[in-house]
Assembly symmetry: C2
Homo-oligomer: 196 residues x 2
């Protein structure tokens, strides 16, 4: 089957991860998300929980981020990003797959046969989702969304020269709150099967 490497960038709570899994299943190709964390941990020698927390979020503010840098401006987070780049490129070279988050769209710039997807939804729809689906127990889900969005944006902008969520970075952007998860997965699978 002709298929592509699919990168899924997503707003927190938009269901992008689930859509990625559904599309991968429809295409019969692997989807890397948690598996990506394990591979990056193995590659970098960093523990899984650190990779999970820092592979797409700037943790803490700018100060706490810069404070972790050594004399040469190098940090653990930079080691992590390097390992992440290596793992993502190796996976892309191995064959069609779905890659969730972690700047894969940027890391695979210049690669042929990549479909870059962005999944978003309204704050209301995402707040509902993180409470009912992710089991988030927070008094203010909107605030939780704003914090997560801010960390992901900061991380993306730190390691790429692009603005996170900028429409021009993606071949396909979908509002999962309006279109529904199943429809989003269908469109992605359909586009991934098209010949070049």
């Amino acid at each position: 089957m002709n298929s592509k490497i699919i990168t899924i960038s997503r707003e927190f709570g938009s269901g992008g991860r689930t859509i990625g899994r559904m599309a991968a299943e429809k295409l019969g190709i692997p989807c890397y998300d948690q598996e990506l964390i394990e591979k990056i941990a193995a590659e970098s020698g960093l523990i899984k929980s650190y990779v999970e927390e820092n592979s797409e979020n700037v943790s803490g503010g700018w100060l706490s981020f810069t404070a972790g840098r050594d004399f040469y401006g190098h940090s653990l987070q930079d080691d992590l990003y390097r390992a992440q780049t290596k793992v993502i490129r190796e996976l892309a070279e191995a064959g069609p797959c779905v890659l969730i988050g972690r700047c894969a769209d940027y890391i695979l710039d210049g690669y042929e046969n990549v479909l870059k997807v962005f999944i978003h939804a309204s704050m209301e729809k995402r707040a509902e989702r993180i409470v009912t689906q992710y089991g988030e127990r927070t008094e203010d889900p909107m605030q939780r969304l704003r914090e997560k969005d801010k960390k992901r944006k900061a991380y993306y902008q730190l390691y790429t020269d692009r603005k996170w969520g900028d429409v021009g970075n993606y071949h396909l952007a979908l509002d999962s709150g309006v279109l529904g998860l199943e429809t989003c997965a269908d469109i992605i699978a359909q586009l991934a099967k098209l010949p070049e």
Copy 2:
């Protein structure tokens, strides 16, 4: 047939107009673009060429725009926007159709059954298109694109409280340069036929 009202916002040179026509044809519904100009001219009493030039572009700089305002801060462009709003709402209420540009996505906020689409492409692809397809005779097509983008953005931001091209404003955003016009039209037609 179950179908929706489709609004197409597009970057200059992305082929959004053609995609809109193709999708309308697939769905057997009307597509309003030039016809929209005629209807807005009739509604506003303004001549067609003025409507064409000013119904989605801020012409000239901010100064020339404000200079046209009377004592109450009201301008011909405001009359035009009011007529445009009325015509677009009447068309949307009359039944399924494709509406090209002119802030229709914003004007139809709160309307059920609207699919909001944004079509974009790389500068290179758009420059190629405006020269080969639109017959633009310009020494610097990139500069022409930048000027047109700037005018459309300024217009959109003046009459809506939104940022033009912001991914969150659209249910579907497509890179026509990568996906191709036919595929974009197929996806739109397919989504427009889905039940709510």
